[in-house]
Symmetry: D3
Subunit: 319 residues, 6 copies
C-alpha cells in the first residue's frame, strides 16, 4: 500500500528526503516554512495528510535548535491534519550524546528531546547509530534504530585488511568498534582517556595492540575532529602504518576540515550521508556511502507490515 506514504522534509537535509522518495517511488510533498519577524517559525504541510502514513525527515544537524523546533512544528501540523501515523525520520539524532547525568542538575537532553517528539505528535521514530544503545529506551514510542556498521564494513571488505586494527577513541564506543572489527575479521583497540583538570580530558594511551599497524578509527560522529586528531597523535607514537577514519555522522564543523587536511598520513575518511555535506566544507580524501536506501527500505517495510529486524539487525552482539 505504498500509495499511502506521504513524505515531508524540513530544511535540514532535503537531499536525503528526496533520495528516499526517489527510491520509494513517491513524490516528496512540499512544505512552507515561514520565519516571522519576531523570529518564530511556522510550517505548513502542503499535501493532504488525512489518514496517511506520514514521514517527516529531519536530522538534528546544525543549527540544531532551529531544526529541532521546525521538526516539532511539522509533527504537530501532521497530527492536527489527522494523519494516521506520524514517523519522525531522524538520520542523525545529535542529542543522543546527552544520555546521562554525569554532573549535578543537568538535563538529560536525549531523554527530553525524545519526550518532546512524542508531545509534538510523533507516533514512531526511525534513526541511525544512536551514540549509545540505551538511548533507545528513552523513547515511549517505537523506534527503528538502524545501524550503519554493515554499510561501513562493505566499504572496507575487498580491500587489503592484513595487519589492520579497528580503534575506538574510548572504552564507551569499543563495543561497536568490536562489531566492525569482527565483520572485517581484524582485532580491536581503544583509547584510554584521563581527565586532567575540571574540563580537560586527554587520551593518555592506547589499550590493545596497534604497533606498526594499519588503523581504522571508528566513531559515531566526527564534529570538530579535535579528539580524533588527538587520537591520531597518540597512535603515531606507536608507529602506525596508515590511518583511516570511519564514522556514521560526518559533521565536520569548526576547524574539522582544516585539521583533517593537515594530517598527511590519513588514507581515507569514510562517512555516510546522514548529515548534509557542503562541497566547500568537506575534508580531502572523503568517501561517502548513502544510507538513504536503508531508510527507504525501512519505510517501505513498515508501510507494508514487513519485519525490519530481519533485514537490518546485527547478528553479532558483544558485551
Amino acid at each position: 500500500m505504498a500509495e499511502d506514504i506521504t513524505v515531508f522534509t524540513g530544511s535540514a537535509h532535503p537531499e536525503f528526503a528526496q533520495e528516499m522518495c526517489d527510491i520509494l517511488g513517491v513524490e516528496l510533498s512540499p512544505t512552507n516554512i515561514t520565519r516571522f519577524s519576531n523570529d518564530c517559525l511556522q510550517v505548513q504541510l502542503r499535501a493532504n495528510c488525512r489518514r496517511r502514513d506520514v514521514y517527516i525527515v529531519q536530522p538534528l544537524v546544525p543549527p540544531v535548535q532551529e531544526n529541532l523546533v521546525e521538526l516539532l512544528l511539522m509533527l504537530d501540523a501532521a497530527r492536527g491534519a489527522s494523519a494516521s501515523h506520524i514517523t519522525a525520520v531522524i538520520p542523525h539524532f545529535a542529542y543522543a550524546r546527552s544520555d546521562k547525568k554525569d554532573a549535578p542538575r543537568i538535563s538529560i537532553g536525549g531523554k527530553l528531546v525524545a519526550d518532546l517528539l512524542e508531545t509534538a505528535g510523533a507516533t514512531r521514530v526511525i534513526t541511525m547509530t544512536l551514540h549509545s544503545e540505551q538511548v533507545h529506551g528513552f523513547f515511549g514510542v517505537p523506534v527503528d534504530h538502524l545501524s550503519a556498521t554493515h554499510e561501513l564494513a562493505s566499504h572496507f571488505q575487498g580491500t587489503d585488511l592484513s595487519n589492520t586494527v579497528v580503534v575506538s577513541p574510548d572504552f564507551g564506543y569499543a563495543k561497536v568498534a568490536s562489531k566492525l572489527a569482527r565483520l572485517l575479521d581484524v582485532p580491536v583497540a581503544a583509547g584510554s582517556k584521563r581527565r586532567l583538570a575540571d574540563d580537560k580530558v586527554v587520551i593518555d594511551r592506547i589499550v590493545g595492540d596497534v604497533e606498526g599497524k594499519k588503523v581504522i578509527i571508528l566513531d559515531d560522529e566526527v564534529a570538530t575532529a579535535g579528539s580524533m586528531i588527538e587520537l591520531m597523535d597518540r597512535l603515531r607514537e606507536y608507529d602506525v602504518e596508515e590511518i583511516s577514519v570511519a564514522t556514521t555522522h560526518g559533521l565536520f564543523v569548526g576547524k574539522a576540515v582544516e585539521r583533517l587536511n593537515a594530517q598527511s598520513d590519513i588514507r581515507e575518511i569514510l562517512t555516510t550521508n546522514t548529515v548534509p555535506l557542503r562541497p566547500d566544507c568537506t575534508p580531502d580524501k572523503l568517501a561517502v556511502r548513502s544510507v538513504a536506501p536503508l531508510f527507504a527500505e525501512a519505510v517501505r517495510r513498515h508501510n507494508t507490515g514487513e519485519s525490519i529486524s530481519t533485514l537490518f539487525s546485527d547478528e553479532v552482539t558483544i558485551g
Copy 2:
C-alpha cells in the same frame, strides 16, 4: 517563606532576571550553558533545587529557537533536581502570535510550545500581554497572565491628553486599545486591513475618528515596525497632529530602528523591558518602563500564597 525562592536565568535576558532578584532580595543563582561541537546545548543549574520554589526566567526573543530549547532544558534540569515547583517566567511569549489555524495543515505554535513547556517540567507559567487572551487556554498548567496596560497608562497619565485618541493597528487588538483608552479617558480607533494578494495585507483605512488628533498607537509587539509605519502613513492622510507609539514587547528587529528614526513626527516610543534592548539597536525617542517589579511582586505573592489577581487584574473588560 521568601528564602525558598531560587531564580535561574537563561541567556535571553539576564538583566531582567537580575532586576527581579534585586527587588526580591534573593541572589540570582548561576547557570552553566554549554554548546557542544555538534551544536547541541547542555544546561547545568549551579544551585540546589531540592524542594525549592524554582523560577526560570527566559523571554522567547530572538534567537527564539535557541532560547526556547535552552528554557526547556533548564525546566527539565530543575525537575530532575527534585524542585517542588517550577515556574517558567516568560516576559515575552512570542509564539502566542501563532494562535489559530488560518491556513490548512499549519501548526498552532502557541499551543505546541505550551505543551512542550509542560512536558519539560513547568508546573506554572508567568507571562505578560499574550497576543490574544485565548492563548491562556492553551496551557494545561496555571498561568499568571500579567498586563502591561496599567504600566503604559501610567506613563501618559499627567501629560496633556486633550484631543488624543488611542489607535489599534487592527480590529483584533482594538479590545486592548479600548482598555488603554478608557484608562486615559480618550476615544479609540482601529485600522482596517485588506488582503491584496496571496500574501500581502494592507491597512486600507482607519475606522473611527482620528482627524487632526494626537495619536497613541498601541500594539502588543513591535518587530520590524513595517505595519506600524504603514499605519502611520495612513494616519497622516487624516492630518494627525502627532504620533506616539506604545507597546509591551519592543523587539525592534530588522530595519525597525532605521524606519522609526525616519519618522520625524513621532513624539515618543514607549515600551517595557520584556525584551532586552541593545543600546546600538534602539530607536530614538525611546522610553522604557520596567515591568520587572510586577514580575517580582507576582513571584513574591505566589511564594507566600497571596492573591495575584487583586493586584494585577484589570477592572475593566470590554467586548
Copy 3:
C-alpha cells in the same frame, strides 16, 4: 470505505444527524438514553461499533449540561465498544464563548470542555464557527473547524448589495465580519462597547461609516438577542435604511423571538441549522440554510482520506 461509517445522535438535534445520514447514504444508528430515578443518565449505543469509524452528533444547545454529559457518555460507550475512531460532531460548541480568563479564578470553560471530550474518548472533533479562532488550540485532538461564512454569503449574493455595510457588534468579531464583507464586496463597521458599571456593558457608538446604509449585522450566535437589539437602536441613530441579521448559531432563547418580532425594520434574519429550531419559537422573517451537507461532506472526506481543507478553507484571512 463509506460502509464503515456509523453515526449516532444524542437527543440534542436528531434532525441534523438524520439529514447528515441521508446525504451520506448511511442509516442513523439507534441509541437508548435512560434517565434513572436519581437523575443520572445512561446511554446505550444500539449498533456495532467494533473497528468502525464512529460519529456522535450533538450540538451543545440548551439544556447544555444535559447535552454535554449525554455526549460524554456516548463517547465513552463508543470507546468501550472498541470503535476505531470516535469523532464528536458538535455543530454548535457553545462553551467556546468561555475562552479567556477575564476575571480572577474563573474556569476557561471552552478549554475544560475540550479536555473532557478527550477524556471521554473523542479522537477527533468536527465543529463550526467557534466564537473565536483561538479555541481551536484548546483541543489536544484534531479539529475540523468548518466555517458558515460562505454559506451565509451565498444567501446574500445575487441580491442588491449597493449601499450595504456588514456590521459586527464588537471589535472582537470584526475580523470575521470583514471576511463576509469581502465576500460580498461591501465595507465593514463595528460597535464599540463600554462598561458602565461592574456588570453592565453598553454599545456606545459605531466605529465605521453606517450613515443611511443597508446593514447586515453578523454575529456568531444569537441567544436572547439583547445586545443585538441594543446594536439596532444605536444603528438607527445613524438613520440606517434597513437591517438584516446573519448568524451561524440561531438559539433564540428567552425573549429573543418577542424582541426581534418587535423590530419592524428588520428585513431578514438568516441563520443555519446548527441549533434545532422549534416552529413555535422562531422569529418572523427567518431564513434557514442547512449546513448538514457541509458536515456530511466533511465526514465523507475524512472517512475516505480526502483533504477537507481544499473544500472548506477560507481563501481570505484578515488581521
Copy 4:
C-alpha cells in the same frame, strides 16, 4: 495548619458546606455562578486559592448534570488559581450506580465521572457510601470513602431491637446490610429479584427469615421508593410486625413522598443529610442524622496529616 483550608460550595447543597465550615471554624468562601443566555455556566471562586488546601463541596443530586458540570468548572477554576490541593467533597456520588457493563455498548458512568473529575483538576475525593465498594477503584486519585453505617446504627442502638431483622432489597447490598445487622446484633435477610421481561425486574421472594419480625430495610439510596414499596409488599406477605427504612442518601424524588406516606405501617424513615431535603418534599416520620461532622473531621484530619482510617474504618468486613 487549619488556616490553610478554603471551602467553596456549588449550588447543590450549600447548607451541608456551611455546616462543615461551622464545625471546622472556617468561613465558607463565596462563589459566583453565572448562567449565560446560551445556557453555558461560568463559575468564579471569590476567595484566594493560591497554595491553599481547597475543598469544593457538591453532591451529585438532581439536577445531576447541572451539578456535575458546575463541580467540574469549580475544580478547574481552583486549579487555574494555583491551589495546592483540590478535594472534591461529594457526599452523594450518584453515578456510582453506573458501575458495570450489564448491557452491550453502555457507558460505565461511575468510571467516566471519576475520570472527568481528575481531568478537571481534583487531586482527591471525599465521598460516602458508594453504591458498591468497587467504585473506589474507578478513581486514579486518592479517595476517602466514608461510611454512614455507624451513624445509622447509632440511631437504632438503645431502642428495642428484639425480634428485629435487617433486610437488604437485593443480594448485591446484602453485605452492607450484614454489617449493620452485626452492629445491632440482629440477623439479616435479602430480597431475591427476578427479571420478568426485558426491562422489568421484580422482587419475587425473601431469602432469610423475616416471618413476624420487625424489619429494618437498608439501602444506600432511596429515590422514587418504587422498589422499596415493592419490597414492603413482599415483606407483608410474611406478616412482618413493623417496618423501618434506613438509607444514607434520601433523595425522595418523583412519587416517593406520596408512596411512602401511603404506607401506614412504616415506623420510621431514617436518612442522613448527604442530599438536601426540602421541607415540602419529605416523607412523614422522617428522621435525619447529619454526617457533616464526619466530613468536617475527615477534612480536618487530612489537612493536619492525621489518619482518617483510624476513625472511620469499619472494623468488620464480611463476604
Copy 5:
C-alpha cells in the same frame, strides 16, 4: 482479515493458546523467555508484529507474579515492535479479587494491575468471569468480559434438575448464582458469613431453602477449596441430597485435591480450562469444559469487526 492475527503465549498456559490458534486456523507464534542469572526475565517475540493485530495469551495463575511480569514484558515487546493492536488475553484475571479497599492503606490490586497492563502497552483486554462485574470499570482500555455461565449451564441442561438449588458461598456472588439458577430454572440460596476474629470468617448459616435438596455450588474460583468445604459442612446440616460444584476458574491449589476427594457425597466438580490443569493435581470426579472456543470466537469477531455482544452477552441481569 484473519491473516493479520498474530498470537503469542506466555508460559502460564500454552495449551489454551494453542487450542485458540487451532480453532482460529493460525499458527501460534513462538516466544523466547530467558531468565537471567539475577532472576530478571527477558522475552523475545519470535514473529513479525509490525502492523499486526497481536494477541498475548496469559492467565494470571500461580506463580502469579512471574506470569504477570512475563505478560507485561510481552506487551511491551509487542508495542516496541510496532504492533497495530495489542490485546492481552487473560482467561483468569486473578487480581480481580483485590477489588476494594476493605482495610486502611491497602492496594486495590485489581485496579493497579489494570493500570500496569495499560502502561505496558495493552490496547484491549479479553477476560472471563471477573470476580465482580465492577472490575470492568478499573480498565482504561476496552475490555471484552466473557461469561462462562452459559457454558456451565449447558453442562447441567439435559440432566435431572428436579429438587435442585444453586448455592452461592456468599451474598456477593449470589447475583451470578441467580443467573445460573435462572438458566436452569431452579431456585437460589446463599451462605451468610460472619467474621469471628480479626482474620477469621466463617459461614454461619444458609439463607434460602436448601433442605433435602440437590445442590449446585457456584463460585468464580476454587483455590484451596477451604471455604467450599466449610460450605458443604454447613449444607449437610440441612440434609442436602447431593452436592455438585461448578466454577469458572479451577485452581485446586494447596490441599484442594485432598480435601475435595475426601468429600464422598460430591457428585461432580465442573470447571472450565481458564487455568491449566496438571493430571496429578486434579480432584476426582472432575469435568472440564473448554472455553477456548469462546475466546477464539471473540478474537475472530474483533479482528473482523463483528459485534461480540450479540454472541456472548447475558440476556438476563438481576439485581
Copy 6:
C-alpha cells in the same frame, strides 16, 4: 522536618531498611503482606501516610518478580493513602541490565519497570550503581543515583596498591573501572569478549597490561560468577600475582559460592549490602561494606531540602 519521614520495607531486604531507620532515628513502620490462596499478593501499610514523606525500601533481588510486584503494590497503597511524596528506595535495580534492544522484538525491561514504578505511584527513586548510566534517562520521575565507587575505593585505600591494576570484564564497564582506578591511582584493563555461537560469548583476551600484576576485578553485579571465573582463567594466562573482586551488588546465586571458593588465589571478595546476604550462602574471604549510611543520608538531605549532589557526585568523569 525529619519527623515527617515514614519508611516501609517490603520483604526483600528488611535489614537494610532497619539500618537506614536506625541511622535516621525513625522507626521502621510495619507492613502486612498477605498471599492469597490464588497466589495474589496484598500489602497493607500499617502506619499513617497522610501528607507524609514516604519511603518504600525494596531492592529487586531474587525472587525478582515477587519483589517487584510487592513494591508496586506498596507504592500504590501509599498513593491511595494520600502520601505527599513517595520514594522508591531500590538499592539494587536488577532490571537495569535490560537496557537496550540488542535483538529483535525484545522488551527493554529497565525502561518498562521504570514506567511501572511511575504508574504505581512512585514520585521519586533512589538507587545505586545502575548497570549503565543511561538507565537514569529511562525514568520520568527524578532519580538520585548513588555511586558505590567511593565506598569500594575506601576499602582498598591504605593497602599496598603497588603493581596493581583494575580490570573490567568487558569494554562496557571499563569506564567505571577507570574511575575506581583513578581513585586508587593505578592503571586499568578490560576483557574483550567474542561471541562464538548464537548464545555463547567468551572472553578471548585482555586489552591492557596485566602481566604479573595484582588484579582488582570490578563489576557492578556478581550473580553466578560464571563470567567472573572465566575472566580469572584468562587473567591467569598472564601470570597475575593475585586477584581481588569488587562489586556493588553481590548476588552470589546458583553455583557462585562453590565456584568462587574453588579459586584458591582469590585474595578478597568485596561487596556492599545492597543485596541481602545469607550466612550459609556467601563465598569465603568476603568483605561487606554497608551503603545504608549513604542511603540514609540521601533520604535525610532530600527531606530537609539539602543538595545530594554535593555529597555523592563523582568529581571525575571519564569517556
